[in-house]
Subunit: 371 residues, 2 copies
């Protein structure tokens, strides 16, 4: 299906008109979900895999949405015929998360009560809310069990939340470069991004949809994000200390290549991502604690009944491997079926989007044992 | 001298009226230097030690400037009678660096040509310029040789620059938590701070001395700095995931203790530090490369003739220990007298301001062997 002729994948949409209860007690209605699917659902409806995207991702995980697209979906390297998430065998689903800005209801959606975008009147949503909405989508699709739930970073947090919230519905999880609760240092990095956005005069208390966007604030947040997605050695390899301008090092406005890269990517991001969505999603990330509602972290983790494959990357300092080690040791203590691969990589946190070969081998082997 | 009666140290000042030539070829005149001294210069004038401060530091390294001061100078734990930089034995000098905002000429100083603050008409200054100005201060004080030059972070960069630029004048160096050229990742963090300040509408192209300051931009820069000065484990120990507000996790404006800490310190910094000075100093930091002018890094490092004591900290990811390892291995290759202690610490880069006991022992032992 993913050949040079670029077979086109069109996103699908569903609008749930009933009341959707959030963890906070607040209610959203209606709720729209945008999703994509790859491969075919079999007649037993038991070959589905749910892929969960990260902070800035979307439902567009694989293939091309249009013949003009330069790049395929964000995990195209892992999703397709013969790839680990094999579309000859599995029915792959990826939906845009609740609170995001790529087709699923979020703060930029119209609030039916006012006819205007929610802005910060949008309720705080949690990863459990995102997962509950994915579960609602599965019910709508008449799918009662999943071969696997997988994703990296925030996507992996969703996979963990799935395994703890709906253990009976899933046959396996593959959480990658993730955590059951992010570190205080990761919260710190998010905090600065939040501060930058909320103090951008154009943020205007979240009400900017009819005017200029908080471009500088969101760019700063993204620049910080970018640094934390890489690693010291990735920066060395990618940029070293190369200087980018011709005016020389004594020019006040001169800059290094790495600075150029960050600025370019910061601005680019601000042009397509909604600042309020960014705030809501990092909030969901910060407040996510797998133990919430289960008494303790161990009590939560031991609810996981399905086989689990964890993948981490040695140079990831945002979601450090020791957090996965803790999850794995709890699962082992309770004799769960758990595998963990700590891949040697210089790519840092972003490795889950880049280390295709190693991940492919490991995931393929694991999924072959599941289905 | 540093007893409970808080003997008061008063900063001293000198104004050099001749032309001060910068590495860039530009000229500054006049140049004012603010400095403090602790202990007594002996009759042979050969017991002086130069202490170099870091990015946000000042000449106030030890003691109290006023009886009302709550806290002593930034390295008071190491400077004083019986302390490693022993004021019973040594004459300690610390001067505010060129480009800073605590009494030495910088972008907030009055440009004699216009009668207004320089702002960004101030020339880009380098660490070598800072060192040259310290050397000028020593000449003014009639001091021709130093027992040691020491400092952490940017202060350590100055110590290294001293050893390479004026090897004949110094008997030893003690560079701590530092580097001969910072990593691309450290440049990246500085880049975001720079972007935040220069895109704060109140920065106004550096011309804000008669109006509101770019408080948000400078706060963001400082918040990012703070994260990089700590470590993952320091964040765990200091804040863990403790939530700071009573409205609960579903409150959009709720925040964690770590966030509260960063905001408080960001704003506090913006209230006393000049944003342009911040820009000029991080520029000096970014463009500093010990090899500059000497053909190669190795050629530069082998110019160091004096004994050198390097100190690093295991959890410092901003100035990683491997950079010091490289310096040490070059010095060893040329049979130089070099010592290196990599102190096990959770404090991150800030450890040079916090790990007093270990540092004291090591520095004392080293200085006893020098003088």
């Amino acid at each position: 299906m993913f050949n040079d002729n670029k077979e086109i994948i069109k996103p699908k949409h569903v609008i749930f008109k009933d009341e959707f209860y959030l963890e906070s007690g607040r209610i959203l209605s209606p709720v729209k979900v945008t999703y994509e699917t790859y491969g075919e659902l079999n007649s037993k409806r038991d070959n589905a895999i749910l892929i969960c995207h990260a902070l800035s991702g979307s439902a567009h995980a694989a293939g091309y949405n249009s013949a003009k697209d330069q790049k395929p979906g964000w995990w195209d390297a892992l999703i397709g015929p013969g790839k680990p998430f094999d579309t000859n065998k599995f029915f792959i689903i990826c939906s845009n998360i609740l609170g995001s800005c790529f087709g699923t209801t979020g703060p930029s959606s119209i609030n039916p009560a006012t006819g205007k975008p929610y802005g910060i009147s949008f309720p705080v949503v949690t990863i459990k809310d995102m997962v509950k909405l994915q579960n609602k989508l599965l019910s709508y699709l008449n799918i009662n069990s999943l071969v696997a739930v997988s994703g990296g970073s925030l996507g992996g947090m969703q996979a963990l939340c799935w395994a703890v919230s709906f253990p009976e519905k899933i046959k396996s999880i593959i959480p990658i470069a993730t955590s059951g609760r992010i570190t205080p240092m990761a919260i710190a990095f998010n905090s600065v991004g939040r501060f930058a956005i909320m103090n951008d005069p154009f943020w205007n208390n979240g009400d900017y949809y009819d005017s200029a966007i908080p471009r500088v604030g969101l760019s700063i947040a993204r620049m910080i994000g970018h640094i934390t997605y890489l690693s010291d050695s990735a920066f060395q390899k990618k940029f070293d200390r190369r200087y980018a301008t011709y005016e020389g090092i004594y020019d006040f406005f001169g800059y290094f290549e790495v600075e150029n890269y960050l600025r370019y990517n910061g601005y680019k991001f601000a042009d397509y991502f909604d600042a309020n969505s960014y705030l809501y999603i990092i909030k969901a990330m910060d407040i996510f604690d797998l133990s919430y509602g289960y008494g303790s972290f161990e009590e939560a983790v031991k609810r996981i009944t399905s086989p689990a494959l964890f993948i981490t990357f040695t140079s990831d300092f945002l979601f450090p491997a020791y957090q996965t080690e803790e999850l794995v040791s709890i699962l082992k203590k309770y004799n769960k079926n758990v595998f963990w691969e700590n891949i040697e990589s210089d790519y840092g946190h972003d490795a889950f989007l880049l280390e295709h070969e190693e991940q492919s081998k490991i995931i393929k082997r694991f999924l072959d044992s599941i289905y």
